[in-house]
């Protein structure tokens, strides 16, 4: 068979390889797909109707849930603000608007950081494999992706900031519909500008540099988000009281912010667009691999893998001095396990930062919004579990490669306990700091009397910490959804069987651990009886978490 060029000239074996003809423009992606697209896009009426129906239904349900949650939160905040006088908190409250805006900005930064790590200009795995070797003009190839992700970034920013604005300002008593809509619109506009500008900024390293630069940019965005949370917490802790900001006062800062964001957007966007044609194939492939990992984890409802995909780090060499010991402190099976876990955490320092941020969130929310005590307990439950989860990454990674742990002379029963000990110690410290801080800013600390003193709350948190660590260990080894059986149709889309059980394994144990904390928050004190209850709850959680991990590890083998 004779190979022919598209222009009909036969190729002989000694001739040059086919390529773009000098002087002729590169074919565009649109030209190349013009014939293939109609056949691929052939969809029956039934499929189209079903897709539209599913999209409308899911959007409606999601929007309804969001609005319902907003209304409940707003009412709770109004109740909290109106009752701020009954709690003599040691720290003055900051502005709810400031807090909500800060948390919204932090959330957008975290999302942008995640987008950065995924690869802001990456194609899917199959398009990358297909298009990258072809002589297609790269800017033309990437235009649809850039357009799509810019829109998604703007929409996500608008939703997050608009939601936060509507809750924070909308909770102010006596606010009319106009003021509420202004807050909603202003927040959304700010969020959209932030999302769009941020996307243009994170696109730049993906275009100009390699994977490491992209990961570094993601780390910078994470650090910025943490800095926002720390600043909010610091303002609360030093007693920086900011009077409630009237919606009208937001106009000037909002205009300035939007102008700055637009300038940043135009500048960064123009620079990125200028260079996008030079995006390297390596960068595209790397982004495609990450995107593929992310997509498959979402399809499988595998939140552990999703977390790994979103938190993927750059790989590199570990420089060591020749002849020097790399892990000199390990001198037996137990210390070898602890060394492996410690090295993993030390090389992912953002895990410590994330745990610290989770410790500050209840404090910030309590100080900024006067959140009701039920919300505070809910936040402590979530923050405690997530902080423990982020510190339990060694156990989560070992669930993927159980053979590595089998290389050490440690029994399957003892191994989970060894894994649990350092995380439990860290979480005891975390609880001893986070719980009394949140209690303080909620006005639950009253001098030195038993049950309401700072140290009583610290004791409660310290005993809750190991329980949260055990819950995270249980969550690290939870079963994956069963993908061998047909999906289950739910109102929120198709889910693999066991998805709900998989997601709830871990948080369920954290609920048990948080019950004494909840009772203490609701009863405005941590008497010795509740502290004893906390010890018992955490002991039960540790036993259950340990048993579950030892049992599950057998199946994972």
């Amino acid at each position: 068979m004779t190979l022919e060029r598209v222009d009909g000239d036969a190729l002989d074996g000694d001739g040059p390889l086919p390529g773009p003809v000098a002087g002729e423009p590169l074919p565009s992606r649109a030209d190349l797909v013009s014939e293939a697209a109609p056949s691929r896009a052939a969809r029956g009426l039934r499929t189209t109707v079903y897709d539209v129906y599913t999209t409308v239904l899911q959007t409606g349900i999601g929007g309804g849930l969001l609005l319902g949650a907003s209304g409940s939160l707003r009412s709770a905040l109004q109740a909290g603000l109106s009752s701020t006088g009954d709690g003599p908190g040691l720290v003055a409250r900051t502005s709810g608007v400031l807090t909500s805006a800060g948390l919204a900005v932090a959330a957008v930064l975290v999302l942008l950081g995640a987008l950065c790590r995924i690869g802001p200009v990456s194609l899917g795995t199959a398009p990358t494999a297909w298009w990258t070797p072809l002589p297609v003009e790269r800017r033309d190839l990437l235009r649809p992706v850039l357009r799509q992700r810019a829109v998604v970034s703007a929409v996500v920013g608008a939703v997050v900031c608009g939601w936060a604005g509507s809750i924070a300002v909308g909770a102010s008593p006596g606010l009319g519909t106009g003021g509420f809509l202004s807050a909603l619109g202003g927040g959304a506009a700010l969020g959209a500008a932030l999302g769009l500008g941020g996307y243009a900024l994170v696109t730049r390293p993906a275009v100009r540099a390699g994977t490491r630069a992209v990961v570094r940019t993601g780390a910078v965005l994470d650090a910025l988000a943490l800095a926002v949370v720390v600043a909010l917490a610091a303002s609360a802790l030093v007693g920086l009281a900011v009077d409630a900001v009237a919606p009208s006062a937001l106009v000037v800062p909002a205009v300035v912010a939007v102008v700055l964001a637009v300038v940043a957007l135009v500048t960064a966007g123009a620079a990125s667009w200028r260079d996008v044609g030079d995006t390297s194939a390596v960068s595209l492939r790397s982004g495609a691999a990450r995107l593929g990992r992310l997509t498959s984890s979402v399809l499988q409802a595998d939140v552990r893998e999703l977390g790994r995909a979103l938190a993927a780090d750059a790989t590199g060499r570990r420089r060591r001095r020749r002849g020097a010991s790399r892990v000199p402190w390990a001198s037996g099976p137990a210390t070898a396990v602890w060394s492996a876990d410690w090295l993993l955490l030390r090389r992912q320092p953002r895990r410590f930062l994330t745990a610290a941020a989770f410790a500050l969130v209840p404090l910030v929310v309590a100080a900024g919004t006067g959140a009701p005590r039920g919300v505070l307990a809910l936040l402590l439950w979530l923050a405690g579990y997530w902080a423990a989860t982020t510190l339990s990454e060694p156990a989560r990674s070992m669930a993927l490669v159980p053979a590595a742990a089998r290389a050490l002379p440690v029994s399957q029963t003892r191994l989970p306990l060894l894994r649990l000990v350092p995380v439990a110690a860290l979480m005891a410290l975390w609880g001893a700091i986070a719980v009394p801080l949140a209690a303080t800013t909620s006005g639950l600390v009253h001098g030195e009397t038993t049950g309401t003193a700072w140290w009583a709350w610290a004791l409660l948190g310290a005993f809750a910490g190991p329980g949260w660590a055990a819950a995270a260990l249980r969550g690290a080894l939870r079963p994956d959804p069963d993908l061998s059986r047909p999906s289950v149709a739910t109102a929120m889309g198709s889910l693999p069987p066991g998805a709900i059980a998989a997601v709830s394994t871990g948080p369920d144990l954290a609920v048990l651990v948080t019950v004494p904390v909840l009772l203490a928050v609701l009863s405005r004190g941590a008497p010795p009886l509740l502290v004893q209850g906390q010890v018992l709850a955490s002991a039960v959680a540790v036993a259950l978490g340990w048993w579950y991990a030892a049992h599950r590890a057998r199946k994972l083998s």
Partner: protein, 283 residues
């Protein structure tokens, strides 16, 4: 890299575990602390024969393996003594790896028993993990640890003394010294295979389970593998390995088990090598 490091004679590439372990498994210590001198094949063979005269280290007694209650091959019965290498041979899909996984305690047998030093194996116990080193076709790395750190951690976990020297020697033997500070995921598939072997050889062991260890190795790597495994066997380590490689069979195996649907029979190494090279009948 290999040009910088002069190739050592096989006898000098004896595994660095001989530097001593704090908790050497019984029976293994004596043999390994005084490795037989390579004065001749006959002497080595005679030494192995003496060691094999003792009780079997590993016994497979009518072991039936499979998935979803369906056996993949006929029951396997064989005993492996210290200083003895037994190969599992058979066509692709015959069940060699499944047998090895059952021996390693990773798969519940459908019937029969696997005994290590007379006790039914339980992979979860510290005794099993201390004595048995596995090289299977799966990556097994501690996350975020470099090649050298991984080896050092495994060695320290097993109480090996003079760890740095041991690890460096093993890295040199496996031609991984230049990659010591890289993450295992950055290595090629053949280099990762050599790292798996290094991780098994850097620690004390009484029994080595290897699933087609020659896979993905270059010719030099295969030569090194053969010499290292011969040294292991001569030093008293029992070995059960699945392989298709006739060089490994002829150079290493004392016996072989032919895994088949009808009957699993024990043959000598030469017969096994002949069977491996025979064309497999089509369906």
């Amino acid at each position: 890299m290999s040009q910088k490091q002069p190739k050592q004679p096989a006898a000098k590439q004896t595994p660095p575990k001989q530097t001593g372990a704090k908790q050497s498994p019984p029976k293994q210590t004596g043999a390994k602390q005084s490795p037989p001198k390579q004065t001749g094949a006959k002497q080595a063979g005679a030494a192995r024969a003496r060691r094999r005269s003792g009780p079997a280290l590993l016994e497979l007694d009518a072991l039936t393996v499979g998935y979803t209650k369906s056996p993949v091959c006929a029951p396997v019965t064989v005993a492996v003594g210290a200083g003895e290498a037994v190969c599992l041979v058979g066509a692709n899909g015959a069940g060699k790896s499944t047998v090895l996984r059952a021996v390693a305690g990773l798969l519940e047998p459908l019937g029969g028993e696997v005994r290590l030093r007379g006790e039914v194996v339980d992979e979860r116990t510290v005794e099993f993990r201390r004595q048995v080193a596995c090289v299977f076709d799966e990556d097994a790395w501690f996350a975020e640890l470099s090649v050298a750190e991984h080896l050092e951690l495994v060695a320290r976990g097993h109480g090996v003394r003079d760890v740095v020297a041991v690890v460096d020697a093993e890295l040199a033997a496996q031609r991984l010294a230049e990659h010591a500070d890289e993450l295992p995921t950055a290595l090629s598939s053949g280099q990762r295979r050599r790292l798996l072997l290094a991780a098994a050889l850097v620690r004390p062991r009484a029994l080595l389970l290897l699933d087609e260890p020659e896979q993905r190795l270059d010719p030099t790597g295969r030569d090194t593998l053969l010499e290292r495994l011969k040294a292991e066997r001569d030093a008293g380590t029992a070995m059960l390995l699945a392989t298709h490689d006739t060089v490994l069979l002829r150079g290493l195996a004392d016996r072989a088990v032919v895994i088949d649907d009808d009957v699993c029979r024990v043959v000598d190494a030469e017969e096994a090598a002949r069977l491996v090279t025979e064309p497999v009948a089509g369906p």
